[in-house]
Symmetry: C2
Subunit: 215 residues, 2 copies
């Protein structure tokens, strides 16, 4: 199984490292084939990690994960190419946050009445988009068991098989029981939660936390 990881920031590097640790091939995709962060990662991660442009990574992969800044997500996927995404599971872990006025960010105005995940699905109707992992930071995404308890992780998407395969991957990451919220419009819930997430960092004593449903 080959994964394209589109985005070379901390989320992309953390996800790619976890995938390699699990024995999967991970192609780090970036805007240019000579991206320094991607090259450094590959040097360190060894044989299962490679690099390429967004399009090269998406073309080779069985499953594509997009983890750019939210403001860059649609551009990155356009560069990846609709033909390279068609029929594939496209896991969207991005958030539509606007950091132009500093921290804490606000929601990007374009997505306050809907969601970035819906825009991704609309731009790539043949891709099978699953929104997940956008409610925790990179370290928790791939190792929720480091918390006192993992809390809940959510999936949203229109394709049942794509969600089932994503949930299987999440379980390999350490999430015991991912919560299926419903179709891709339910990503509005997890994306709009981010303005609370950024304000829980203080009470939580850092970014390594999650929320758990109590009933």
């Amino acid at each position: 199984m080959k994964f394209a990881v589109l985005g070379t920031g901390s989320v992309g590097q953390t996800l790619a490292r976890k995938l390699v640790d699990l024995g999967y091939a991970a192609i780090m995709g970036s805007r240019s084939a000579d991206n320094e962060k991607a090259a450094a990662f590959v040097n360190e991660a060894g044989g299962l990690a490679t690099t390429g442009t967004f399009a090269e990574a998406a073309a080779i992969a069985d499953i594509v994960i997009v983890c750019t800044h939210g403001a860059a997500t649609l551009d990155a996927l356009a560069l990846a190419g609709a033909e390279n995404l068609a029929g594939k599971i496209l896991i969207d872990v991005t958030n539509p946050l606007d950091f132009s006025n500093g921290f804490p960010p606000t929601l990007l105005p374009a997505y306050t009445q809907s969601s970035l995940a819906e825009a991704v699905q609309a731009a790539h109707p043949k891709a099978r988009v699953v929104k997940t992992l956008n409610t925790v930071n990179a370290a928790i995404m791939v190792d929720p068991q480091r918390l006192s308890e993992p809390g809940d992780i959510f999936v949203s998407g229109n394709d049942a098989d794509a969600k089932a395969q994503t949930i299987d991957l999440l379980k390999q990451f350490g999430w015991p029981d991912p919560v299926d919220l419903g179709d891709i419009t339910t990503a509005r819930g997890t994306e709009h939660y981010l303005p609370l997430w950024v304000r829980l960092m203080g009470p939580a004593g850092g970014a390594n936390f999650n929320i758990k449903i109590v009933k």
Copy 2:
């Protein structure tokens, strides 16, 4: 201690009943003095409960709680009268939700880059606004101990004394350790969480749930 409860829906009735149970006077405020829901509540709740217009209720009260629909909050407070709110703790439990397109609601467009709580504070600069309880339904607001564990409840506000008194009230409601998120702008976090809250009702099996920070 006298509380004005502005709003006669399920949240208002539940809060007023709890306040009466705790031995406080509760004045149910509504648009008209002959509101049927308020009158029915008072008949049932007994001596500590009374009714009045928004202005009458706010004028008599030591602490004002606003629990109208979010779209009606600023109007209700305008009718309550700035002079009747000046200097008082104004607990805002409302959410800026737009139900005009059905369920689930979206965020009211006017508040997606800020919060209704900030608009309330701006409209009534002499009131000491505290946002809280807007992240749970009415039954949980006043009885979090009915859950397997209460989870976390949040307060936002600019006035430290107002937050401390509100936290004391929350403890009487059964919240062991309310989380102070910071100034009134932090209400953006709890208000924008609502699109997730409405989508957790399915997985949670109903509206009686909360979230807990795990770290």
